[in-house]
């Protein structure tokens, strides 16, 4: 549906996709302490691909994504569900957050936790849902 030939858009889309994806991961990981988080990061990531979608169409976007949006949703929901159980094995109520601090070489500490897993689940679900709708709509449009 989108007409080819807008050179600037083409170039911009190619370069913006990785940048925006990187930015979305950044937003996701810092979300627990600064503005950001799974919802916002998921929307930013879908924004990146939405731009690409408008520029190159559904087929190429699918190729670029390599993974079906439906699978993204599945992964997201699965991660969300997984984060429920660790607390249970500790004998606490479901969904009680668990923290596993890991020391990185260089003295930095990274905190792995069930809320982080959960937030990543949210990220993938939002990302997958938005992409599923947009790609499906665009595909029918192109037919």
């Amino acid at each position: 549906m989108m007409k080819p030939g807008t050179l600037i858009l083409h170039v911009a889309a190619r370069f913006l996709v990785p940048l925006q994806l990187l930015f979305s991961v950044f937003l996701l990981l810092r979300g627990h302490n600064e503005p950001g988080g799974g919802f916002i990061a998921g929307l930013v990531a879908s924004g990146a691909f939405a731009l690409y979608l408008f520029t190159f169409g559904a087929v190429m976007t699918r190729d670029l994504m390599r993974i079906d949006p439906r699978n993204l949703i599945g992964i997201g929901l699965f991660l969300g569900m997984i984060s429920i159980f660790p607390a249970w094995f500790q004998g606490e109520a479901f969904l009680t957050s668990q923290w596993w601090p890991v020391m990185l070489p260089g003295g930095n500490e990274i905190k792995l936790s069930t809320p982080l897993i959960f937030d990543i689940g949210v990220y993938f679900t939002v990302f997958g849902s938005v992409m599923l709708m947009l790609v499906a709509l665009t595909e029918t449009e192109e037919r």
Partner: protein
């Protein structure tokens, strides 16, 4: 005891598996369970006769005062023995009767489930549990009566039974709740032991009416008797079981159970005796009119149920003795008779007694059993039925009833003799009527039940004192709620009851000789019968249909806008009333406000206003964008960074979405009249004002301390997160968020499904359907009233045109791709323009311009 009920259900669940292994033998194996239960219950006879009761307590839902406590006393023992004992033989009988039937497993499952429910019903101590089992019997009996679900008659009869009994069940629930409220407990034992005098409670009459409605419908009392004969559409084992000892006796059981609490009042006596006598007469009278063996038996069951109700109504000790004896006698002979009728039907293929005769030689055992059972039915010595009938007449004569009721009872007694004679003599004696198939005696397993039951009937009659001592007297005492001095005897000496008995026997037999003439004479009454209660039932059902049609027309008129308007106005009315009545609004104007905030709000409001009056879709979408971004600005200005970011991102995606879909829909058109606009604007403004007031009030009112403080305080120490909003989302309220991402995923999958999956299977439709995004068709108004064929034609034409168009477009596309950059730019420009024009022209413009480029 809880176990006994549960085991039956468990076995029911295992039946299909068992059936796959054992086939035809399944029923015989299953019969072992009720047989064992019979023995188990029988082992408690000594305890019960010595005046004890067995209580097994088990809490179920303690918070709601609902328990699974079960109590075994004289009354429930007698019922339990009948349910399990007759149940054993019914299972054996059904195994042979339905041998090779494809749904035998299903039948056995339902039958066992019914047995379990019935047992639970008579053992339950808690009123709610009792009600649950009560309804379970209604449902399982619905399945049993409708077993031959291919037959419309069976379905109709099953539904009729269900509607009548469940309708009564509804009233019963109300009655039981009133009873619990008045008695102070849901436990029958506790109500019984409490000092409350329920008969003087102000709700007494109300609860009585409700409870009796339940009992009367279940036990087929006049005017609800009509469902019982119709239920004969069921296979014979079902009729034999449901209508001898179980289902229809549930109502009787309930009345007997509640007698100590509710019985003995003038209201009780008058209601029960009159309805009982009326039911007796109706049943007996209708029985005489019938020629179908099962119908004969069914109506005589109605008559017996009337008798039992009448006896309960009499409220004397003698009547209670008669009640228990009659109940036992009836269960024994009626179970046997139904099974025997089934055998005759099974072997000859007909149940019409006028088509039967002289079977005695071919089916000797059946004939003898029928004769003995019919003796009991008619009340001939030395059968147990005679003992019961003597007691009945005696208690009636000594009871608090008028001459009319006594006359009704005696008339029914005469009719019953006719019925008994018809059943016992007509098919087996007299001239042999040739049948279509060769007739032989029934298989042993089918005969087992009738033989045992008739033998018991005979033995009980020969040794009435023992029967009374072991079974019926404890039951009578449980009903009466106090010890009864008395014994059962075959011979009471020559007295008035005996005389009446002899008279009724003689007259009855006499009438039997002229049965054919009698039926002809009674046909005069047909018009009256056709306007009886059953006609009322059908009129009622029709009324339901009419009312629902009417209310669908008025309320569910299909106009979404009317629904919306109704919902909104109701909301405004109810909420507005509560708000203004309870609270006051404080307008706190003297807060500092900055200019830029005012500007943002003004943009927001004017954009909203512009959206609602704009005539173009592009304008609407653009102004919607301003609304969204103003909202985002407000979020950011007032410390909600995360919200601002989210809102901006979502706004962007929304615009993409709208461009993809919304512009493929037709443009705005003004179809409303000014009056309609005015009305809708009024509704809208009303809502707006209400919401404003709502906010102003919620700001002032703090009903309870906010939980936010806890979340703020513990965000870093406990949850190690400095962005409190995110901590709430992924930690404090993670379960909510989990639900929300599921909703989102579902919405996405729903969109995907709507786009990708098409149920349309018309030839050529696949392609048409695959393209969701199509330019709108110019469809003539009258399209909506076209016939289906015409529509199909139009659609096919559209499809053809569509295919041509797409083909042309594809060619154009290929051409465009090979052409220069400027050409495609010009086509882009054309498309942008076309957004403003009516989109129906859009695609054609597009393809034309593309062709031009080529």
């Amino acid at each position: 005891m809880q176990l006994s009920v549960l085991v039956i259900y468990l076995l029911a669940a295992l039946t299909p598996w068992l059936y796959s292994k054992q086939q035809a033998r399944t029923a015989n194996i299953l019969a072992l369970l009720p047989a064992a239960l019979t023995l188990w219950f029988a082992s408690h006879i000594p305890l019960i006769t010595s005046g004890g009761i067995l209580v097994h307590e088990y809490a179920w839902i303690p918070g709601l005062d609902i328990s699974l406590t079960m109590v075994l006393d004289g009354l429930s023992l007698m019922f339990a023995l009948l349910i399990c004992g007759i149940g054993t033989f019914i299972l054996l009988y059904a195994g042979s009767y339905l041998k090779g039937h494809k749904d035998l497993a299903r039948f056995l499952v339902t039958l066992l489930a019914f047995m379990g429910s019935m047992l639970g019903l008579i053992l339950a101590d808690n009123l709610i549990t009792l009600f649950v089992f009560w309804e379970l019997t209604s449902i399982t009996s619905y399945l049993l009566i409708g077993f031959k679900h291919e037959s419309a008659d069976a379905r109709k009869a099953a539904l009729q039974g269900l509607i009548v009994t469940v309708g009564g069940g509804l009233a019963l629930l109300a009655g039981l709740i009133m009873l619990a409220g008045a008695g102070g407990s849901y436990s029958l034992q506790e109500i019984f032991n409490s000092s409350e005098v329920l008969s003087e409670h102000p709700l007494y009459v109300g609860m009585m009416i409700c409870i009796l409605l339940g009992a009367f419908t279940k036990s087929a009392q006049f005017p609800f008797h009509f469902w019982l004969p119709n239920a004969m559409a069921a296979p014979t084992p079902v009729s034999a079981y449901l209508h001898s000892a179980t289902m229809v006796k549930a109502g009787i059981y309930l009345m007997a159970r509640l007698y100590p609490e509710l019985g003995g009042t003038e209201f009780w006596i008058n209601t029960l005796t009159s309805f009982g006598a009326l039911t007796m007469l109706t049943g007996a009278f209708m029985a005489v009119r019938s020629t179908d063996l099962k119908k004969l038996l069914a109506y005589s069951t109605v008559m017996a149920l009337g008798t039992l109700t009448l006896l309960l109504g009499l409220s004397t000790e003698l009547a209670m003795m008669a009640f228990a004896a009659y109940l036992l006698a009836h269960s024994l002979y009626k179970g046997a008779l139904f099974m025997l009728a089934g055998i005759v039907d099974h072997e000859t293929g007909t149940r019409d007694v006028t088509q039967l005769g002289g079977l005695r030689k071919l089916m000797p055992i059946t004939a003898i059993c029928t004769l003995i059972a019919a003796f009991s039915l008619a009340g001939l010595p030395p059968m147990f039925g005679f003992v019961a009938k003597e007691l009945l007449l005696e208690s009636l004569l000594k009871g608090p009833v008028g001459l009319l009721i006594i006359l009704m009872v005696i008339t029914s007694a005469i009719f019953v003799v006719v019925v008994a004679a018809v059943i016992a003599l007509k098919p087996f004696y007299g001239r042999f009527v040739p049948q279509a198939r060769t007739i032989h005696e029934a298989p042993k397993l089918m005969l087992a039940g009738p033989v045992v039951l008739t033998t018991l009937s005979l033995l009980a009659g020969l040794f009435p004192a023992v029967t009374g001592q072991l079974i019926t007297l404890p039951a009578s005492m449980a009903v009466a709620g106090q010890p009864i001095e008395g014994y059962l005897a075959l011979w009471h000496g020559i007295n008035l009851p005996l005389l009446l008995s002899i008279i009724s026997l003689a007259v009855g037999y006499g009438l039997y000789r002229y049965w054919d003439t009698l039926r002809d004479t009674l046909r005069i009454l047909n018009p009256i019968i056709e306007r009886g209660p059953e006609a009322g039932y059908f009129r009622f059902m029709q009324g339901i249909v009419i009312v629902s049609e009417w209310q669908t027309r008025v309320l569910q008129n299909g106009s979404m806008r009317n629904y919306l308007r109704t919902i909104i106005l109701t909301f405004v009315g109810v909420t507005g009333y509560t708000l203004l009545w309870r609270y006051q609004v404080h307008w706190n104007w003297d807060v500092s406000v900055y200019l830029h905030e005012i500007v943002v709000v003004l943009i927001l409001v004017s954009a909203a206003a512009a959206v609602s009056i704009t005539g173009s879709r592009l304008g609407a979408v653009a102004t919607m964008g301003s609304v969204g971004f103003s909202v985002a600005l407000i979020f950011i200005l007032f410390s909600a960074t995360d919200l601002g970011i989210t809102q901006i991102l979502v706004e962007t995606l929304t615009v993409i979405l709208l461009v993809l879909v919304l512009f493929r829909l037709p443009g705005f058109s003004s179809t409303s009249t000014p009056a309609e606009r005015g009305r809708d604007a009024f509704v809208a403004v009303l809502t707006g004002v209400l919401m404003t007031l709502l906010i102003m009030i919620t700001i002032d009112v703090q009903l309870f301390p906010s939980i936010s403080d806890y979340m703020i305080e513990n965000s870093q120490p406990l949850a190690y997160g400095r962005n409190i909003v995110n901590v709430i989302l992924v930690d404090y309220r993670a379960l909510d968020t989990l639900g929300e991402i599921f909703v989102l995923a579902l919405a996405a999958l729903g969109v995907y499904a709507m786009i990708k999956f098409r149920p349309d299977t018309q030839p050529g439709a696949n392609h048409y359907a695959g393209t969701l995004i199509l330019p709108p068709k110019q469809v003539p108004e009258k399209h909506l009233v076209l016939s289906l064929d015409e529509r199909k034609q139009i659609k096919e034409e559209q499809i053809r045109a569509e295919k041509l168009r797409i083909k042309a477009e594809a060619e154009a596309k290929i051409a465009t791709e090979t052409s220069s950059l400027t050409a495609s730019n010009s086509s882009n420009a054309t498309e942008d323009d076309s957004l403003n024009t009516t989109s129906s022209d859009e695609q054609s413009n597009n393809s034309e311009s593309n062709k031009g480029a080529q």
